[in-house]
């Protein structure tokens, strides 16, 4: 829930909200366009990126569907997508709700946002592919935000065969 002190911090809160929602919109645009270089660029070098079943997350179990530490691993994943992982191509479409900002200490922002990702395979209908929420730690760097950490905690217990692209 919004906290009592919020009103006082409004201008700051507005700026934070704008930055985070803008960031998520840009993040979605990058992934949905298959622009993975841009995606890597939205993380800090020592970032943490995890796609984890809610089942494990809630049970305190560490196993992820994808667990990448640092831009190097992000780069290895992107190389895999484009060069080593055979798969049928598909479109992703992210619809992300306005973020819920939990904290902003001026440098780091803690926020979450619900997302739905739709998959469309060539010549097919669009289907619900992966829904869940982002748990984020975002860091300001010269007016930009970069991801220090993004956990994609997904509800979807059954992945529709494979998960190739980042969420």
């Amino acid at each position: 829930m919004a906290d009592p002190a919020l009103a006082l911090r409004l201008p700051a809160a507005l700026e934070t909200q704008l930055l985070v929602d803008r960031f998520n919109a840009a993040y979605a645009a990058a992934l949905d366009a298959g622009n993975y270089e841009a995606w890597i660029g939205m993380f800090r070098p020592d970032c943490l990126y995890k796609v984890i079943p809610r089942e494990n997350h809630d049970a305190g179990l560490p196993l992820c569907t994808m667990a990448l530490e640092g831009q190097g691993m992000l780069r290895d994943r992107v190389y895999g997508i484009s060069n080593t992982l055979f798969h049928a191509p598909y479109y992703q479409r992210h619809v992300i709700g306005p973020a819920l900002v939990h904290e902003d200490d001026g440098r780091e922002i803690r926020a979450e946002a619900n997302y739905a990702v739709f998959r469309t395979k060539p010549g097919s209908v669009s289907e619900v592919y992966n829904v869940g929420r982002y748990l984020d730690r975002l860091v300001r760097e010269d007016g930009n935000l970069l991801l220090q950490e993004r956990l994609c905690v997904f509800d979807s217990e059954l992945i529709l065969n494979s998960l190739i692209y980042p969420i």
């Binding site: 569907t65 831009q71 290895d76 080593t84 055979f86 992945i159």
Partner: protein
């Protein structure tokens, strides 16, 4: 048994007595599938994987699992023994247990509160002897109603060093006989009695016939060709020392190999488009392999325990993969990754990092799910007419000291034909 001629399909006639050419209808025909459920998953002498003991540490712990298409409850009783009972009320058939994991002292079906012990016995039911109104008694069950006749379906339970299997056949042989002397050592190598630590679960729905996954892990031909990482980093390729082992029936198998340095090697990389000569990891931690004492050599063992489970050791990554069939053209695939109680934090982290290679997003297994889907698409588009050709290394069946062979697949289908009487 039911007729094997579904409407509009061709009669499933398998030419000759070989097993190197598998007709597409074996993957698409709904009656074939039903017979497979009856004879393998529910049938005489077969065991189905349901859980790891480590998932149920405490008395009262239960989890829902599947035997074929049947929902079952795996539960640990007060005396720490394990029961596996069908999740279906004896009264009016309700699949009463809905929470996937939890603790239970008994099972109560919500509809009319019939109550069962953890072993499946019917403990009691409301108004069995009717309801007293004044000195009249209203309703109740018939005199001859016998609680013993109305328990839950009880499955035979087999455990082996932390693995839990169940069978609908009370006469099912001991697990160790079922797996057989050729396969057992490889199970013992991983499951030697030490305690397991559960790392977590991954679930995927693969739109292909369940046997295609068994084939995939009985197919040493593909890893060095489909999977760039395997051929490039030498995790699995034809210039390694390897062995293909199977049980006497040809249903279970183990693919064993030892990694090498990878890199270029004419015989196994020339013209292989998936081989990436100059590929190097930006972050080597993804493949920071540290040999473990218990390996005694092999860096990978892929064990298929027909018909329901794959046990994998691939360098430092360990997992079981549970096959839950859902029709002729679909199955759910449930991965449980684990480690050992005495793992150091570093080793746990290593297993978790290497988990990036496996599961629905894995660098070397996401594409297995993809090719399985596309195989089923291929079978479907001909209406089940056509056949696969599994003749690498001949048409025979034998323990094989290398990986340039499809013998394990032939072995499985020879067994399949015997049991299916096709």
């Amino acid at each position: 048994m039911t007729a094997l001629m579904p409407p509009g399909a061709l009669a499933p006639v398998w030419e000759g007595d070989g097993s190197s050419r598998i007709p597409f209808w074996a993957y698409t025909d709904p009656d074939i599938y039903r017979r497979e459920l009856d004879r393998f998953f529910y049938g005489r002498g077969h065991w189905c994987y349901v859980a790891l003991e480590a998932e149920l540490p405490e008395p009262g712990d239960y989890k829902l699992s599947f035997v074929g298409e049947r929902s079952v409850i795996v539960v640990r009783d007060r005396d720490r023994s394990l029961h596996v009972v069908e999740n279906r009320c004896a009264h009016r058939g309700v699949r009463f247990c809905q929470k996937p994991r939890g603790k239970a002292r008994s099972f109560v079906c919500p509809y009319h509160q019939w109550t069962y012990k953890l072993n499946g016995d019917l403990a009691g039911l409301p108004f069995r002897h009717g309801v007293k109104k004044g000195d009249a008694v209203e309703g109740g069950m018939p005199e001859d109603f016998d609680l013993k006749q109305h328990g839950l379906t009880k499955l035979k339970v087999g455990t082996y060093n932390g693995l839990v299997f169940a069978s609908l056949d009370p006469e099912a042989p001991p697990l160790t006989d079922y797996f057989g002397p050729d396969v057992m050592p490889w199970i013992d190598r991983i499951f030697n009695g030490r305690k397991l630590t559960i790392l977590g679960t991954n679930r995927q729905r693969i739109p292909g016939n369940w046997k295609l996954m068994m084939e995939n892990i009985k197919d040493p031909y593909h890893p060095g060709l489909l999977h760039t990482w395997f051929v490039t980093f030498g995790l699995w390729r034809a210039d390694q020392t390897s062995r293909m082992v199977m049980d006497a029936e040809g249903r279970h198998a183990v693919m064993i190999s030892q990694r090498n340095a990878g890199g270029e090697a004419k015989a196994v990389t020339e013209g292989v488009t998936s081989f990436k000569k100059d590929m190097a990891l930006n972050d080597p931690r993804l493949l920071d392999v540290v040999p473990e004492p218990w390996w005694n050599g092999p860096s990978v063992t892929m064990i298929t325990l027909f018909p329901t489970v794959i046990i994998q050791q691939q360098v430092n990554s360990l997992s079981t993969r549970h096959i839950v069939p859902a029709g002729p053209d679909c199955f759910d695939f449930i991965w449980t990754h684990f480690g050992f109680e005495d793992d150091t934090p570093d080793m746990t982290q290593r297993r978790l990092r290497q988990a990036n290679l496996f599961g629905p997003a894995g660098f070397v297994s996401a594409d297995d799910g993809e090719v399985i889907e596309f195989s089923q698409d291929g079978f479907r588009q001909t209406g089940g007419r056509g056949e696969t050709v599994c003749e690498l290394d001949g048409r025979g069946i034998a323990q094989t000291p290398h990986m340039v062979t499809e013998t394990l697949i032939r072995g499985m289908y020879a067994y399949w034909r015997r049991v299916m009487e096709i």
